[in-house]
């Protein structure tokens, strides 16, 4: 499992709708902010890259020191962004794919308004489980 990993889902209008620190390392104190800052800054690159490829998994698109940003863009232009220090590309890909399925299930909920924050604890638990499994 990766020591550092920060996972964020960004809606199509750039608002983060889900965020989770899924790393196993003991948290550095200022890490969460820094992670979000890096992920937010990486949105600029995603914006350019997303239209150059038909693949959903954009792989590592940005790095900050030893931290790498991997991104997965859904068809609805919702972006899954993962900041991590592991090199396990396949694991990350599987993680994204499974989270995508979870996200689709959330979208199928008629009470969920697309673009709003995901506060389902079930979703949260599942995502953390997937992170433990794949990252």
């Amino acid at each position: 499992m990766a020591t550092t990993a920060c996972f964020i889902i960004v809606s199509r209008n750039d608002i983060p709708i889900y965020e989770a620190e899924v790393g196993s390392a003991t948290k550095r104190e200022d890490a969460a902010q820094l992670h979000q800052f890096i992920l937010h800054a990486a949105l600029d690159i995603v914006q350019d890259l997303a239209w150059t490829t038909s693949a959903m998994f954009l792989k590592a698109i940005d790095r900050f020191n030893d931290l790498v940003v991997s991104v997965y863009v859904t068809a609805g232009h919702t972006r899954f962004m993962l900041l991590h220090d592991s090199r396990n590309d396949d694991g990350i890909k599987s993680f994204f794919q499974e989270v995508h399925e979870l996200y689709i299930k959330i979208l199928l909920n008629p009470l969920y308004l697309p673009g709003s924050r995901i506060t389902s604890s079930h979703f949260d638990t599942k995502v953390r489980g997937l992170a433990r499994k794949y990252l």
Binding site: I15, A20, A32, Q36, H40, D44, L113, T119
Partner: protein, 1134 residues
């Protein structure tokens, strides 16, 4: 990059030396420097200085047992670039050579000396013979010289300084010879060192020497511009160096690492420069990443960590600068296939901004570690003394203590502790904060230029943080404000929280209460998710504190403590009067785009969209707050665009504040049992509103007062068009609507329309019957007040074509030609008796063709006023007449609400008089008109008249209207009076003495005699003019109806037959019927006449003479026949 020595930063340039003939040195140097590639020159003033190049006597080849003291000598590169030439060019003038034997001998000895010196260093030699103009040198002498110098003929160059063309030629020859020799020199040197490498590796000698030799080979290759070889050997040196890290034991641990890193830095710099110069940006970036990867973890011992971070920072900075400088990096970036498949490079890794940002990041690390190191060593002062004498030693990356021993200086190596002390003192000299800000700024600007906002924001945030730490709050605040707006827009709450925390602190430091409160309120209202804060420990040094519900509540309490006046802000350094007081009240405005909408959102809905004036309607006022704790509002003030509707809601649970009594301004005061806002729960209040003024009634704002001196003015929003709060969209949030009635929540508006009061004034249009074309038709308009007084009344009159004609505005009608107005408004008259003085000059009185504006004087209640519209029809057509009266029932003020009364009337326009005419010939006289004979069938032909005959014109005027008319006169008018009429028209008898009354359908006829006098074939009769008036009791103006009579043809009849017979005959008594035929032609005419009798066929008829009469009628003569007829029956003559 500027810290690096010059010789390292620039590519090496070959160095040659000149000696002899000093007057020519300048010209030669200049020429060589402009060569491609350039050659640097070292000019020696005289031959004695050549000995400078001789090798200093020392152990040329250190034995393997000898410990190598360092990797690279600090001054080796400089030496080869400035002090050791590759070629020595000796200049001799021809007279030195061809002079007497003593001189020749001197030359020979000089040559021997030079050769001896050069041989020790393998420096190449070249001879230049300067031949002045007109002089020459013997072939044999040249040969001798060449032999003496042991030179090939091409390395003896003849220079003729006096002839410009020759000089240029020989200079270029000299240049190429020098370049060739220099190249040979560097190649030979390289080869020599390479040989040594091979020898060393076989004998497994010290690794330092290997690195040194590789470096030297690479530098020699660079002199030769053999970039590929240079790169290969630099890389070799670099890799060997990396292997040294764990193995070398030569120096104390810290200094050993410092030396290795410094050398690595130099080698890396060279490699990156070479790669970037070759345009291989991708490779350079990959190389940098490897470099970074292999050294990043070589942190070293804890007390020297700051040195590592400083070094790291420098790597990023230098590489960023290199990228910046190489223009290839910018142009080729898009076409670069970045990285390899498994490790692709991100786009930013080829942008300098990325490196600056990271350089700043590492510099921050360095600063943190340095501060730690400083705090650990308390004995700062004594350190300084020890550190003063530390200088860089002869080897790259090494430092030594300089000891003064009399005049002698000696180097003493340092222990690690001493070195650290020295490094700490050095580190203290730099202001890292400014360095970091400068780096980040570069990066920020670069990102801004690329329009990469989010990256830029991250940089901006870091700059802001630095400014904040440096105490420059103004700069910090500007940056943070920019960034906050981006995070607000994109809803990155955690980041926004952090930025707001800094902004709040800046405001606190500045003592600006308003901003402090604003930022605090925004923070308190942010939807910071409380789910994550339990697992995460945030650091406490960020001024915002942890983003959690507890912290929000804390901030909320702080703010309201301040607002209510219970607490001042104690933590403020600059001024302690950061309190909200009577002198310093606080008023916040929240509009539709304010971030503070989270704090207070006011939605206002009228229950009805249209109300009558003075009728009460309900208004629901809903307030929503996202603050974490409940808020008690003391007083709410609801403001409308009609200020007399404003009202105040007091909180019954609060004692009325003294201040509120003053500013009530007579507004309605309501009391509510509770004005408590809970988190995310609408506070709904419904009240009556009544307005007397018609028009739009809109709620503009709601002012909430909390505490004695704090008010929030919140712009009212309609529930129908209200935008929801983007930050507060949660999956599990219950959708709440501002009003209980869901329909109202969807359609409710903050404005309502108040209708006009019902008019209490009658407007009457008293028109009777259809209008007649031509007359001034009078439409009496009566304004009678039945309940309202009429102030500043205004009548608007519009005439509109019934058949879909638009209401002409006065401007449009102006464009129309006059003809298009078949109906026009001629005037408006006020009946006599009403004094005209009431109509002031400034009152409006405008009349256009189809539009009129007329002011109505002041009318008291019960009074009435009337006027008459005069409308004239030019054509018969129906017209719609619209009359509207606008008045204000209460006062003369122009702004007062106007009441409008509208009336319309369709009026038919009819033709009153139809004029027709007929021509009659004289009694029993019949001129022969040839045109009639020819075209019998054509009845459309204009009437023909005989010339010089008296004709009778019968003009009749028929009343086609439905009312009786009085005909006042009928005349025939000449059309063009100046030329005179070509005929004489006479009227028998006088004009009408009394008007003739014509009932509808009746005809009036008048007889005129017409005698054509002119020779022309056309005769213009003129215009029939009929003057008439309505037969009504009142004196109506007479109307003139005109109709132009058509022209008639005039012919001269060849024959005129006149008949004459008695008016009656007596039965049985014959009578004479006289037929007179007049020949008007110049010729004799043959006549044939027969008499027939038009009878009923059964009646017998006797013609006494029915024989054909045949005779000749001579010109201008009359032939008269008398026919005697006796009638047998009672017949009238035919």
């Amino acid at each position: 990059m500027e810290e690096y020595p010059e010789e390292l930063r620039t590519p090496p340039v070959s160095l040659v030396s000149l000696v002899g003939c000093p007057e020519l040195h300048a010209a030669i140097s200049k020429h060589l420097h402009s060569e491609q590639p350039p050659i640097n020159t070292l000019a020696l003033p005289d031959f004695s200085k050549v000995s400078l190049f001789s090798r200093t006597p020392k152990g040329d080849d250190p034995s393997p047992a000898h410990v190598v003291p360092g990797i690279l000598k600090r001054d080796w590169l400089l030496k080869h670039r400035t002090r050791v030439p590759s070629v020595l060019a000796a200049l001799f003038s021809s007279d030195q050579l061809s002079g007497d034997p003593a001189q020749w001998l001197q030359v020979c000895s000089l040559l021997d000396q030079i050769k001896a010196v050069l041989r020790s260093r393998n420096i190449k030699f070249l001879l230049v013979v300067v031949v002045p103009h007109g002089d020459d040198i013997g072939e044999d002498r040249m040969l001798a010289l060449r032999k003496r110098a042991e030179l090939d003929s091409k390395y003896v160059v003849i220079l003729k300084p006096d002839e410009p063309s020759e000089l240029k030629q020989s200079l270029s020859r000299l240049g190429s010879a020098l370049a060739e020799l220099a190249n040979t020199y560097y190649r030979d040197e390289g080869k020599r060192v390479k040989l040594r490498i091979e020898k060393k590796t076989s004998s497994s000698s010290s690794i330092e020497l290997h690195i040194r030799y590789c470096f030297k080979v690479a530098v020699y290759a660079e002199f030769r511009r053999d970039w590929a070889e240079a790169l290969r050997f630099y890389e070799d040196a670099y890799h060997t160096l990396r292997e040294m890290v764990g193995t070398s034991k030569r120096l104390p641990a810290i200094q050993r690492l410092v030396e290795i890193k410094t050398v690595a830095e130099q080698l890396h710099f060279k490699i990156s420069t070479l790669l970037l110069h070759g345009g291989k940006v991708g490779e350079a970036v990959t190389w940098f990443r490897q470099h970074n990867g292999s050294y990043r973890r070589l942190v070293g011992t804890p007390e020297a960590v700051f040195l590592h971070w400083e070094w790291m920072s420098r790597q990023f900075l230098v590489f960023g600068e290199l990228l910046d400088k190489s223009s290839a990096a910018i142009t080729n970036i898009s076409s670069l296939a970045l990285g390899t498949a498994d490790k692709p490079l991100s786009e930013w890794e080829s942008r300098p901004a990325y490196y600056y940002q990271l350089a700043a990041h590492y510099l921050k690390e360095k600063r943190a570690c340095l501060e730690l190191a400083l705090s650990m060593s308390e004995t700062g002062n004594e350190m300084d003394n020890g550190a003063e004498s530390v200088v860089p030693s002869a080897y790259v990356g090494q430092f030594a203590r300089l000891l003064e021993q009399g005049d002698e200086f000696a180097m003493q190596s340092l222990t690690d502790e001493e070195y650290i002390r020295f490094a700490v003192v050095e580190g203290k000299r730099f202001q890292d904060s400014y360095e970091i800000i400068a780096l980040l700024k570069k990066s920020y600007e670069s990102y801004s230029n690329l329009k990469v906002q989010r990256m830029g924001s991250f940089c901006g945030f870091q700059i802001g943080k630095e400014y904040y730490m440096a105490g420059e709050f103004n700069n910090a605040k500007q940056l943070f404000d920019d960034i906050a707006s981006l995070y607000r827009r994109e809803g990155w709450v955690t980041l926004l929280w952090e930025v707001l925390g800094y902004l709040r602190e800046c405001a606190r430091k500045y003592g600006t209460v308003k901003e402090l409160i604003e930022y605090s309120l925004e923070m308190a209202a942010l939807p910071v998710s409380s789910g994550t804060d339990t697992q995460m420990k945030y650091r406490e040094n960020g001024p915002a504190g942890p983003a959690s519900l507890a912290r929000r509540e804390e901030i909320h309490k702080d703010v309201f403590g301040l607002v209510i006046g219970e607490s001042g802000l104690s933590s403020v350094e600059r001024n302690d009067d950061l309190k909200i007081t009577l002198d310093n009240p606080l008023h916040l405005e929240i509009d539709l785009v304010s971030p503070l909408r989270l704090v207070l959102l006011a939605s206002v809905a009228f229950h009805e969209q249209k109300i009558k004036p003075s009728a009460p309607t309900l208004i629901t006022l809903s307030l929503l707050s996202q603050l974490p704790l409940t808020v008690e509002i003391d007083r709410l003030e609801v403001q409308f665009n009609q200020s007399n509707c404003n009202f105040i809601i007091m909180n019954a649970q609060r004692p009325p504040l003294a201040a509120t009594a003053d500013d009530k301004q007579g507004h309605r005061v309501e009391t509510s049992s509770s004005l408590t806002l809970s988190t995310n729960k609408w506070l709904r209040l419904t009240y009556d509103v009544k307005s007397d003024q018609s028009g739009k009634l809109e709620c503009t704002s709601v002012i909430a007062k909390m505490g004695p001196y704090f008010t929030i003015c919140c712009r009212a929003e309609s529930p129908a068009s209200m935008e929801d709060l983007p930050l507060f969209k949660f999956e599990d949030r219950v959708e709440t609507s501002p009003t209980k009635d869901p329909a109202l929540a969807f359609t409710g508006q903050k404005a309502t329309q108040i209708e006009e009061p019902d008019p209490q004034v009658d407007l009457n249009l008293g028109a009777s019957g259809p209008a007649l074309v031509g007359e001034r038709f009078i439409v009496p308009v009566t304004v009678s007040s039945v309940g309202h007084a009429v102030y500043s009344g205004e009548l608007k009159i519009n005439l509109v074509d019934v058949r879909g004609g638009s209401l002409f505005s006065p401007r449009e009608t102006e464009a129309y030609s006059l003809d298009s107005h078949h109906v026009e408004l001629v005037g408006i008259s006020v009946p006599e008796g009403k004094d005209e003085t009431q109509l002031d000059t400034d009152e409006i009185n405008k009349i256009q063709k189809s539009f009129g504006l007329f002011s109505v004087p002041f009318l008291k209640c019960g009074e009435s006023w009337s006027c008459k519209l005069e409308i004239k029809w030019h054509r018969p057509k129906p017209v719609m007449l619209y009359v509207s009266l606008g008045y204000s029932p209460y006062s003369f003020e122009s702004t007062a609400q106007k009441v409008n009364v509208h009336k319309s009337l369709q009026i038919e326009g009819k033709t009153a008089i139809v004029i027709s005419h007929r021509f009659l010939l004289p009694f029993r006289q019949d001129p022969l008109l040839l045109s009639r004979i020819k075209a019998v069938a054509d009845s459309d032909l204009p009437a023909s008249l005989p010339r010089n005959e008296t004709c009778i014109l019968l003009v009749s005027a028929k009343n086609s209207a439905e009312v009786p008319l009085k005909l006042l006169g009928m005349t025939l008018q000449e059309d063009n009076e100046d030329t005179g009429r070509p005929c004489s028209v006479r009227h028998e008898g006088e004009d009408l003495l009394e008007p003739a009354l014509l009932v509808p359908g009746e005809e009036f006829k008048k007889v005129f005699t017409v005698i054509s006098e002119d020779d022309s074939s056309k005769l213009t009769i003129g215009t029939a003019c009929v003057t008439w008036t309505r037969d009504s009791g009142s004196k109506a103006a007479s109307v003139l109806t005109k109709q132009t009579l058509p022209d008639v043809n005039v012919e001269s009849p060849p024959l005129v037959v006149s008949l004459d017979c008695p008016p009656y005959a007596i039965l049985g008594d014959p009578f004479t019927y006289l037929v007179k035929i007049r020949n008007q032609t110049q010729l004799l005419q043959e006549l044939q006449a027969c008499t027939t009798c038009l009878r009923r066929p059964t009646d017998a008829q006797i013609y006494r003479d029915s024989s054909k009469i045949l005779s000749w009628v001579s010109t201008l003569n009359c032939c008269i026949y008398y026919i005697h007829i006796s009638l047998e029956a009672s017949l009238q003559g035919g």
